[in-house]
Amino acid sequence: MEVIFRIKRFDGGSSYWDEFKVPINMTVLEALFYIKENIDSTLAFRAFCRMGICGSCAIRINKKPMLACETQISKLEKETIELEPLKNFNVIKDLVTDFEGFFKKQKLAKPYLIRKSKGEIQQTPKQLEEYYKYTLCIKCGACVSACPVAKRCLGPAPVVAAHRFNRDSRDEGKEERLKALSDHIWHCHFVSDCSEVCPKNLHPAEVVQKVRLEVLKFNLGW
């Protein structure tokens, strides 16, 4: 059995749709490799780990941002599958998008441990549990792609990164981080599509609301 892949391609000047027939019994990423190896070697897409860890292969599959490596074609239950590059990112070629802006915004949220004191840092398993979930963010950009206001603001991913370090008992830079976020966090309209598409179920929409309250309390001096 075969399905049709409609791929939105971009050659640097203009974008156009291309169609390919691919076997159904594989993941979307495997099908992209199948096209590249057997039909059209000029097709460009990004992939690395092929097991949902690196986040490189995030694309829009039937308008929904997903990891190509974790999506079985048969589970999509469609005869024609549309593949597009992530929204809110500049396209470099075909399905490859530019993540430079994304990582610039990440830096703004100071996603690293800020230590003022020196010495050995101890952490209990319970303290680790507080933030562990948020370390699972793979920076795939799916949440940013799903957000209708991400282009005008920070987007969900950097806020999740900031939240991860704010909850870390070893960190001493929460205030610094909240200060940095206070100008960028108010654009969220709780569309919550970021939570629906996050491949790691981190619920960025909930995190954004939590961080906003923290920023509000910080600004009011509570």
Binding site: K63, P148, V191, S192, S195, E196, A205, E206
Partner: protein, 104 residues
Amino acid sequence: MSLNTIAFYLHRITGVVLSLYLCMHFTFLTSLKTGDYERLVKASKEFFVLHLLLFLACIYHGVNGIRLVIHEFGYMYKYRKILLYLTFVITFVIWVLFCWKVIK
């Protein structure tokens, strides 16, 4: 387009509609000074259906606004989908009741 996105765009559109209506309403109130009540009342009746639709926009914007405020204060996140469906249901029920009351 997901229902979340539709709710977001509807909130924006109804917000713009209500702002425009507010401007028109102020203009209308100012024109009352002229004393041309009959013409104004007639015009108001001609736009009866539009008024009903305006009320629909008003209810949706209000109910959805309450939903957003609840979430923004960090409550009921787990029930976000139910609340979203409820927003549409509550909006429709209030609107139907309002229409029934007005037409009756």
